[in-house]
Symmetry: D2
Subunit: 278 residues, 4 copies
C-alpha cells in the first residue's frame, strides 16, 4: 500500500468534505489523516488528506477536477525526495544544519547543489560531497549576476530554492522564475526595527526577545507569507553582535522546520497568508 | 442559524468521514470546522465537527447511532454555559484568575459555587457574589469530609469540578462520582521529583525549568490524562519558596486554558490519553 | 536588621566596586546580593546592591556622593509599598490581574486609585474597595482631559502611573509630569506591523507568533525603553479578533512582571535602554 | 591587555567582595564583569570576575589564597581552547551540531577525538578530520570496555568528556576518573517517566511538552547537577517515535549551550546544585 497526499483549496461551499471523501471511499482508499480549514472571512476551503491504497490515485484527481468548483486547486503531492538548491553567502549555521539533516535523512529532500556569491562555504559543502557553485557578484550588474545564478541552478530543476542566509536582495524578475518556491530566513524583532542595522536598533532600545521568521519570498524580500517563527530571550548584557550571534540558533531551527513543512506538503498559500496543517 | 458541535470516536474503519459528513450534507447542514485524527497504533478514530443550520441536529445523531460501529461514542455538545463548581484550599491565584475570566465572560461556564476546607478565600469569592461553602476537614474522617463536600456540590449538578489548588487527596469513591469530570492543576518539574517537598528537591538539584500540568483526575490524584502543560525558566537565585511562587503564574494560565478546552468540547479521552483539537 | 537597596550608575572607571563595597564594609553592612554590569560601548557602570544592617544607610550614600564621579546617579530605594495609580479604558484583563495581585500582596505597591475615560471598569475596581475616577474625554480637548486626569492623580502623589490598556495617546506635556515613571503595555508582533489595525495586518500575513511589550513611556507612546517582552504562538485558525484575545494573557503577565521589576528597584534606565538585574 | 576569569566560592562572610576587588584594584586590574551570588540557606558565597590588565594575575590568586577563608575554592580559568573528547553511540544529531560549531569556532574547545561503541558515526567524524575511536562493547565486561575507553581517551588529557547520546551507563569507577568533568544530555518529561521506554509512557499519558536536560554526571547517570534545560510542545498526533525525533532538536541545543557555559567558566558546582552566571 502506498500513501498519497492530496491538497485541495477552493471557494467554500456546502458538502465539500463529503464529496472529496466520497471519491476516496468509492475507490477503496483508506484515509490516514485529514485536515480541513475554512477561512470564514475569505470564504475559502482548505483540505489536506493523506490516504493509502493499492490503486493509482490519478482517477480520484481526474474525477475531482470534474466535480469540484472550477476555481479549485487540486494537487497530488509528488512522492519521494524533492530536489532543492540552497543559496548562501558566508554564514555557515543554517547551511550546516541543512547539510547534516540531509545527510541523516531528516528532510524529504535531495540537496542538488549549493550556490554562493562567496567561496567561504565551499569546504563545508565539499565535506558532504555536494556540488558548490561560486558565482561572484563582483563586477557584475545585478541582472547579470542573477542570470548566472539562474543558469547554474536550472539544470537541477529544483522544486525549491532555499535562501540559507543569502544576503543579496533578489529582483522581482528572479523571484518570478520560482514563484512561491523560494524560502528565506531572516531575523525578527518584537517590535520590528526597520532599515539598516536592526540588531543595533534593537540593542539601543533594549529589546528582551529576538527571533527569526522563515517565509516565502515575494517581490519584497522580507515580507512574504510567513511559514515559521520562533524567538529567544536576550538581555542588556547582549551587545548588538551578541544578539546577531544568538539569533543563529533560532534561525537554523526555524529554517529547517519551514523547509520540512513545505516538503511534507503541509503548506497552503492563499493571497499573503499561509495555512499550515502540522 | 445555530452552531452545533458533534464529537465522535470509534474503532477506525474505512469511510467514516464520508458517512458522517454525508449525514450532515443530506440534512443541509454546513460544516464550519472539522477535525479528525486516527490514532494508528490504537486503530481508533476521533472527529469533532462544528456545523450550522436551521434544523435540529438530533436526527443526525439518531441516524449516526444506527449506522456507525456499535462501539462509537457520539456526543452532541451541550449548548451555552456549563455549570461548574470550584474546590480550593488557601491559595488565591488560580481561583482569582477563574473568577475574573468568569466575570468577563471569557469562559463558557457558570461558576455555581466555590467549596473550601478553609475560610481563607471566602472574601475573594464574595466580591464576585458567588456562594462559598466552608467545609472544614477538622475532626472529620476523610469519607465524612468528602460526603459533606459531595452533599454541598450536588444541588448545583455541575458538569465539572475544578480543583483550583485544592490540597487534599480525593478518594477513588469521590472521583467515581464525577468520572473524567474533575480537572486538577499541579506543579511539574523537568525531570519530576517524587514524594514530599518537590520544590525543595528541585532546588537541591538546581532545576532550570519549572512547570504546571492540568489533567483529569483519575484514582491517582496527580497522574490522570494530561490536558495542558507549560513551563517557565528559573535559576540558582530562586529559593524553593521562590520557585513555588514563580509556579503560580504558570499554574493559573494552564488551569484556565485546560478548562476552556474542556468547556469548548475540544477534548477526547481515550484510555489514559487526551486527543485535543485546538 | 533592615535590608536596603542601593542603585548606582556612572561613567565607568577602575575600582568602582571596590570603593562602593568598601563603604558598606566600613559601616558593617552585610551584602546580600550584588549585581554589576558595564555597558562597554557606552563605558557606563551599573550596580545594584542589597545589603543589611542595623545602622542607617544614609551616611553610606553621603560618603559615596563625595567620592564617586560627579555624574553618578546614587539612589537608595524607598522602603515598603510604593503608591501607584492605574489608568485604564475598557479592557479588564490587565487591571483585574493587578487588582488580584495587589489584594494578595504579590506587588510591593499600594494601588491608590484607578482612573478611566470610561465607566466600564468601575464595578470591578469597587469590588476591591479602591477609588475609581471616571473622567470622560467626551467634549474635552486633549489638554483639558489630560489636565483633569493630572488633577485627579496629583493628591495620591504616585511613584508610578501604570497604563493597563489605557487607549489614548498621552501628550509630551503629560509624559513630562511623570518622566520615566509611566509604564505601558502594548501588543507586539514579530515582525511588527505599523499603523492602524496591527492584528488585521498580522492576520493577513499569517504571523505565527504574537506578543506583548511593557515599556516606559517617553514622548512617543509605543517606543519607550523596553522592560519586559513575551510571546505566544498562533496559527491560521486565529482570526484577527482571536489574536487580539489571545494577546490578553500575554499582556497581563508582561505588565505585572514589568511593574514588579520596577517596584523592586531592579531597573536602570540609560538613554533609551534598560539594564535590568533580575 | 589580556582578560582573565577568576572564580571563587567559599562560606559566606562579610566583606568578601570588597577584599577580592581590593586585590584586583591594588594590582591595577580593570573589572570587566562581576557576578556574585550568596546562597543564603547554605551560607555560601559565589563570585565570578572577568578582569583585564597587562600584569600576570597569579599574584592576585596567591594573595587571595592567603587572605580568604581556608575553605575557599579559588580558580583562575584556563585560557584558550579547552581539550574535550566526545563519546557517542549511533545518533548523529548532537555530535553533528558540536562538530559544526567546532568547525566554525563557536565553542572555546578543541575536539580532540570522538569515541564510540559503534562504527555508525565514523564517516561523519572523518568529514571533519577528527580521530574516531571505535571500541565495541561486544564480548567485553563493562569494566573491560570502560578500561579500553579510558585508555583511548587518556592521551588527549581532556578537560571534559561530553556524552553526546552515549547510550551506555557509566560505572562509578569510570565517573570518578573525571569527577564533575563529564557532561551528559538526556530527554526529560514534565512530569518525568521513570524506567524503560519513557517516550512510550509519555505518549500513553498524552504529555504536551517534551524536553532535554544537560547535566554533570555523578554516580547515577541521569540525576547529576543540572546545567541547562529546555522544552518544546508536542500533541496527540506525535507517536512515541515522533516524540523521540522531536526531542533531537532540543537535545542538541541544550547540550551545546551547556558545554558553552562550562567552557566559558560560568558554572559553579556546590553539592548537587549548579550556580550559573550567564
Amino acid at each position: 500500500m502506498t500513501t498519497h497526499i492530496l491538497l485541495i483549496d477552493c471557494p467554500d461551499e456546502k458538502g465539500l468534505v463529503y464529496r472529496i471523501t466520497g471519491e476516496l471511499s468509492r475507490r477503496n482508499f483508506n484515509i490516514i489523516s485529514n485536515h480541513e480549514f475554512v477561512d470564514a472571512p475569505a470564504e475559502h476551503f482548505f483540505m489536506r488528506t493523506a490516504f493509502a491504497g493499492d490503486a493509482s490515485p490519478d482517477p480520484v484527481v481526474d474525477e475531482l477536477r470534474k466535480t469540484l468548483p472550477a476555481a479549485a486547486n487540486i494537487r497530488l503531492a509528488a512522492a519521494g525526495q524533492r530536489p532543492i538548491v540552497i543559496l548562501v553567502t558566508r554564514e555557515p549555521h543554517c547551511l550546516g544544519d541543512l547539510l547534516l539533516r540531509h545527510a541523516y535523512h531528516e528532510l524529504p529532500a535531495r540537496i542538488c547543489a549549493v550556490v554562493s556569491n562567496h567561496e567561504t562555504l565551499a569546504p563545508l559543502v565539499q565535506k558532504f560531497e555536494i556540488p558548490f557553485h561560486f558565482i561572484s557578484h563582483e563586477g557584475l550588474e545585478r541582472e547579470q549576476h542573477e542570470a548566472a545564478i539562474l543558469e547554474a541552478v536550472a539544470p537541477y530543476t529544483p522544486d525549491y530554492l532555499v535562501l540559507a542566509k543569502y544576503m543579496r536582495v533578489l529582483s522581482p524578475q528572479f523571484v518570478s522564475c520560482y514563484p512561491n518556491r523560494i524560502i528565506n530566513i531572516h531575523h525578527s524583532f518584537l517590535p520590528a526595527f526597520m532599515g539598516a542595522s536592526p540588531y543595533r536598533q534593537a540593542f539601543e532600545r533594549g529589546v528582551k526577545i529576538i527571533g527569526a521568521t522563515a517565509h516565502f519570498v515575494t517581490d519584497d524580500l522580507d515580507t512574504g507569507p510567513i511559514l515559521v517563527q520562533n524567538v529567544q530571550p536576550v538581555d542588556h548584557s547582549y551587545s548588538a553582535a551578541d544578539m546577531a550571534q544568538a539569533g543563529h540558533d533560532i534561525e537554523k531551527i526555524v529554517l529547517s522546520k519551514a523547509l520540512k513543512l513545505v516538503l511534507e506538503e503541509r503548506v497552503f498559500l492563499h493571497h499573503h497568508r499561509t495555512v499550515i496543517f502540522e
